[in-house]
Amino acid sequence: MTKKLVVAASVVVVAAAIVVVVVHPWNRSPHHHHADTSSVHASAIDQTDTSVSLMAMMNAKDGATSCETAFLAIEAEQAAAKLRGSKSIFQWVAPKPDFLAQCQALPPVAQSCMMPRYRRDHRDDCLRAEPSADVLKKLVVGVPVAEPSFAK
């Protein structure tokens, strides 16, 4: 019985080896020169302050509501910036009770878009749901982005 099992196992191993040998050439043509597609050439960008802030928000935990999730994301960003010794991407954030009240007054779609992961996955819907600047500035104010003018 043991001998039969050993023989059977050997057959399986040999068959697997044959499958690997046979399948490989069709899946990956040997004449193609492959670039290193798993490494990130521009990886340093992920280590920068802005990227760390963004990823902290993307990875923050969910709250009970969309607006709480949004505020938890901001708290995660601020904690990450503090830990890193860098500046937050936000110039000003409303105190939590005000933030939640203002956020909960937004239309439902806009509330969903306050959640970073939802916004990432529903970009176009969220662009259409953008509240007015007056409303947004009662929630958060981002650090201004410089727009260059030409004066050589």
Binding site: A35, S43, V145, P148
Partner: protein, 325 residues
């Protein structure tokens, strides 16, 4: 479909019409940074190069995902197209066939080829130069301003070229409705007596021509150049393949560069007519592009772009798009 059996490498396809053929090739490059993958989750996760080649083997459209071509021979092929352009009627037909090919490829592509189908679809959604009112208008303006003697001289070494660079950008790393940085790329066009060649520089992120980026401004060569080089492979350690070669990082105040430095460099190549040193960049070294003085619409700070940000005044505020010089 010529070769679609290895999606980890790329694809090759061809389209035949009226005894003429155009080839589509795509090659898979490095993984995009996480921040760009989060920024555009529907785009392929890897930088992908794409080009169209005519029946004589000349490249007439190339899209570069990062700083260098995945297949380094493509840079030389681009240069060959600048030294040996095609007859106008052939090139017009090639661009139109390329659009048909891209559409057909996108439609026929199986799910495992989705990354290649994505870029083909974006290409097919845009008109060929001969069908694009904007490109037709530009060609008419170029012809109207062409000095008479330019039409007949300089056909050695590829002839005379008029260059145009279109800057496209979008907010990136967006959260809520606030985007703390900008991604930019440049569509570089070369015109002789018709639009001969396009180099679409994606600079690691969303490519020019994609509906997610919007047209910002253009730069032209402003003069007819001979012996044009846009591939820049001879430019030492500061640039290669038309993009900056130094490490890529968002905090580019040191040695590193980012997409907007690439864009600045690409736009200045258009001004210079070549990819290395020149009189049109701000230090005559081919890779420093400073905009000082009036400052910015944001915090009023100095704005400086460079491939090698350690030189001169470092890169400042280059997380926003450059202007069109």
């Amino acid at each position: 479909m010529i070769d679609v059996g290895d999606p980890s490498w790329g694809v090759s396809a061809a389209f035949v019409q009226d005894n003429h053929v155009v080839y589509l090739e795509q090659r898979v490059g490095a993984l995009k940074p996480q921040v760009y993958r989060d920024d555009a989750p529907t785009e392929p996760a890897n930088e992908i190069d794409m080009r169209f080649v005519d029946e004589t083997g000349k490249t007439f459209f190339v899209q570069r995902g990062g700083d260098e071509y995945v297949d380094p021979t493509w840079g030389g092929d681009v240069q060959a197209s600048l030294t040996s352009p095609a007859p106008d009627d052939q090139r017009v037909r090639d661009f139109e066939m390329a659009r048909t090919l891209a559409g057909a490829f996108a439609q026929a592509a199986t799910p495992e080829l989705a990354a290649f189908s994505y870029h083909a679809q974006v290409y097919a959604a845009r008109p060929a130069p001969s069908q694009d009112p904007e490109m037709i208008n530009r060609a008419q303006e170029i012809e109207a301003s062409r000095p008479t003697e330019e039409a007949y001289v300089g056909f050695n070494g590829g002839g005379s070229w008029w260059l145009q660079g279109d800057l496209y950008d979008k907010g990136t790393s967006c959260i809520f409705w606030y985007c703390p940085a900008k991604h930019s790329g440049v569509a570089m066009w070369a015109y002789q007596t018709t639009w001969q060649l396009a180099i679409n520089a994606c600079n690691h992120g969303t490519c020019p021509g994609n509906s997610a980026v919007h047209y910002e401004c253009s730069s032209t060569s402003g003069q007819w150049y001979q012996n044009v080089t846009l591939s820049g492979e001879a430019n030492g350690n500061t640039s290669i393949g038309g993009g900056c070669l130094t490490s890529y990082s968002w905090d580019s105040g040191g040695y590193n560069h980012l997409c907007n430095d690439d864009s600045a460099y690409e736009l200045w190549q258009i001004k210079n007519g070549n990819s290395g040193g020149g009189s049109y960049d701000t230090h005559g070294n081919g890779y420093t592009f400073e905009y000082n003085g009036a400052g910015t619409g944001g915090d009023g700070s100095w704005v400086n772009y460079a491939c090698t940000c350690a030189y001169n005044n470092h890169c400042d505020n280059d997380w926003s798009r450059p202007i069109c010089p």
